[in-house]
């Protein structure tokens, strides 16, 4: 699997480390229902078989966080972008 880093170009996946699902933004700790929202953000996952947005870190490259859209059934990668550019879903 090769990941197209927006800064470095296409690189071997071995240069990246994996965080996981990109659709679990950190909740507002001041919210009234913060405890249940943190539980959902930390533990519950859609875990889809198919198109999936995930975060990778280009540890052995430019050290950017990258949001990758990938098919978990085929490992095909559709899109990559800097995580900092992406608006939270």
């Amino acid at each position: 699997m090769r990941i197209n880093c927006p800064f470095c170009g296409e690189r071997d996946s071995g240069e990246f480390s994996y965080l996981g699902d990109a659709s679990c933004p950190r909740p507002d700790p001041g919210a009234a229902d913060a405890a249940s929202r943190f539980f959902e953000a930390v533990y519950l996952r859609d875990n889809p078989a198919g198109r999936f947005q995930e975060l990778w870190y280009h540890a052995f490259g430019c050290r950017s966080w990258i949001r990758v859209t990938r098919d978990t059934r085929t490992h095909e990668i559709f899109a990559t972008e800097f995580a900092s550019n992406a608006s939270d879903p």
Binding site: M1, D12, S13, G14, Y18, G20, D21, S36, F39, E40, V42, Y43, L44, R45, D46, N47, P48, A49, F52, E54, T72, R73, T74, H75
Partner: protein, 416 residues
Amino acid sequence: MRYSLFNLFRQAFEGHRGWPAAWRDPAPQPAYDVIVIGGGGHGLATAYYLAKVHGITRVAVLEKSYIGSGNAGRNTTIIRSNYLLPGNEPFYEFSMKLWEGLEQDLNYNAMVSQRGVLNLYHSDGQRDAAARRGNAMRMHGVDAELLDVDAVRRMAPFLDFDTARFPIRGGLLQRRGGTARHDAVVWGYARAASDLGVDIIQNCEVTGFVREAGRVIGVETTRGEIRAAKVGMAVAGSTSRIARMAGLRLPIESHVLQAFVTEAIKPLIPGVVTFGAGHFYISQSDKGSLVFGGDLDGYNSYTQRGNLPAVEHVLEEGMALMPVIGRVRMLRSWGGLMDMSMDGSPIIDQSGIPGLYLDAGWCYGGFKATPASGWCFAHLLARDTSHEVARAYRLDRFATGHLIDEKGQGAQPNLH
């Protein structure tokens, strides 16, 4: 027909034409008392113990492909009960005791072989951790021996003891651990369950749940609608997909784990050797092949095949541990879908939806747990209460903070 020496002789004189099929191949009935989704080891064991222990024989096991086609046929066949935490150890020891009587119980040769499981350690800190784990095991009545390097050398002289990075200082040995023949476990449970009246329905994929007033009252399948008072899920890597059909989100991610087998060689490795510091473990099958594996590929996957970086890593670790395997040819590698839970421990519990029950989150420890998982899931399905050794495997432990994090990695499934 009972498998016995007498029947073997009798069939030999009749040209072996009288053996009946090992299990029936029935068409699905419209309704059952219990439906178990998933015809792997866990699902079939659940059905068997429902019939045998609880007398519930109107049971269907639904399998989308052929039985044992998922992780039951994709593991590395290791059985052990060398866990640290009190939530885990009694459960896995219960499983080990069931393994020890399994073949007589099922009347089926599952090739259970208690050849020993040796976890290597390489530093003072790791030795302390091994001693602590061994002590925890012994306090639960489980056998554990802390070996020094000379004892390991006598057991496994082929290891490279003096590498610069991970010199071997000793190991923690569980002699009662070992291996079993994975397919035979599936077939044995299928045959025994079928004999007790359980319907094993293959090529029957669940496509949805039948609901009534919020309750699950059956499933829709590719072979029609089937109703049941209770529906249990034992579908490993497909857990999230099936759960979503019922509107459930679970603390589970699906990851791929690879395993490898070489050509057959003469007896070399006496038991199971694990090299945790280097992500590698190995045993030798009765046929002579070296069977080994490592860690997850590391990212969510439903592919049932791995990628090359993990292959290279596992083989490098293997060469570091035992250079003797360098000239053995690798025959095959394959990948299985692990239902990785957020704390690395399983869930055997009610789902929160009436009528639907969960047996999931086995990570890569599912095979050794097969008998106890079946026993405890059957207990839950029959009585609506957790079995005493599975009480910690609650679904709500993630919300309440009662995690069973054997490895101490936190909610990062690709690291468990």
